[in-house]
Amino acid sequence: MNARSVAILLALVGMYIAVPLLLGPNLYVMSLLVASIAIGGVALAWALLGNLGGMVSFGHAAFFGVGSYVSALLSMKLGVPVFAAMFLGGVGAAVASIAMLPTLRLKGPYFALAILAYAQIFRILATEWKSVTGGSGGLSSIPRLPEIAGFDFGSKVGNYLVIVTIVLIFALIYERIRASHYGIALRAMHDSEDATRIVGVNSTFLKAMMLFVSAFMTGVVGAFNAHYINFLEPDYGFSGLWSTIPIVAAIFGGYRTILGPVIGAVFVYLIDQLVFKSYIPSGHQIMLGALLAGMVLFSPTGLLPWIVEKFKRSRHAAA
């Protein structure tokens, strides 16, 4: 077994056994952990769109909100089982992203601005479509995650295990896409789109696929969140924070890597809630801003690439 396999095995043991055993009784810390990993899931989906699709999105709140509403409504009004509803929440977000296909011809800030506008449109729709969404009053008593074979997935530990599994599956999907021929072509498209089209790459199709995948992932996380907090309103489900915090997390952790955004989300969220908040209860986000600015200046590629580089150097020095 090589070093990489050992590291993966240790990480899995840590995530699936050590964390629930050590932190499970501490409901507050577990809730913070669940929230941070959920943000990590959105950050990973955002980074996939940026890295493979070459698109910087400021509108992932749209996918998050659509996923959460679709899942909540399906489970509440049609009695769809929660896990199936969560999957369909992701499908709903992917379907919603079809409306954004015209924006794919835009580049850089124009795409970012257009997709931000779409997020606002979806928020307004959720507010005004009162007969279905409950309007600004929102939805309450959204079904929690179920109990299966005697294990309560609605418990804090159950919630944690579900979101960890979701994010790990997303990371595997991301890795598979990146390693595929499609991933290689997508990598090339960033700075040389005409050159890729001229050799037969349907760049618009590939970008659309990345938008669907990213929207699906974000929608599933949104759906999970709806069943986790059991309440939903448009200003929360479509909050701009679901667009901006994942960006902060992804850039902090290293958006060019697959797990960097997740590690960034967990680090940023936990340090903010557990450390900064205790020193500056009101306005603790200022510390977060300073931390991000410091990281961007100190290591523009992010936390994970910095750690990997340090590790490589120390091994090189020891050899």
């Binding site: 021929h181 290689i184 072509a185 990598r187 090339a188 960033h190 700075d191 040389s192 005409d194 050159a195 890729t196 089209r197 001229i198 050799v199 037969g200 790459v201 349907n202 760049s203 618009t204």
Partner: protein, 237 residues
Amino acid sequence: MLQLDNVTVRFGGVIAVNGLSLSIATDEVTGLVGPNGAGKTTLFNAISGLARPSAGRIVFNSVDVLKAPVYRRARLGLGRTFQVPQPLSRLTVHENLLVAQRFATGSIDESRLREILAFVGLTEKAGRDATTELALSELKALEVGKALATNPKLLLLDEVLAGLETVGKRRFMQMLKDMHAKFGVGILIIEHDIETISNLCKRVAVLNFGELIADGTPEDVFRNPAVIKSYTGADHA
């Protein structure tokens, strides 16, 4: 056979290609020449789909490709290189060819890729970063290799020899001659050097101000007074 009928390309008020009609065979090497600004690269862009003609028809092997997207034209067998090499960024030389082959033909044939790499002289550089680790002559070779990997029936070469020193140019020219024979691909080449064109092509088309002013053998074309005037600005004495 590539058939252009009355093709016109406009950029606002500027007519870059004006009602051009031309047939290009896929079993020979044809030269496309003309002074700077004659519309040669714009015509290549129109054929490959990067520029949209405002009028006319473009038919390739009996398929009307005027409205076909760029990638579909590549899959139909219209290969192309750029005047300024455009390697696929963040990829190795081998990955450049792999992407071209995979997406243009729908499959991967590693032995064919090795054959192409050897043919363009990049076997030793297969693992190098195509954007940062190649000299100009190697980037030009990669352009040709990438285009060959798409398995083209007609290859549009845009000033592929420009910027090369004499020895490199001679070697490259031999490669183009061999390519026509070895891969059975038709070539339409833009080139300024008359000697090169005369050497490579049995037929030459001349553009000036977006219009076809001559079409024939190199001997006839380069003696044509209209062609001489287009280059020198003066009547042939």
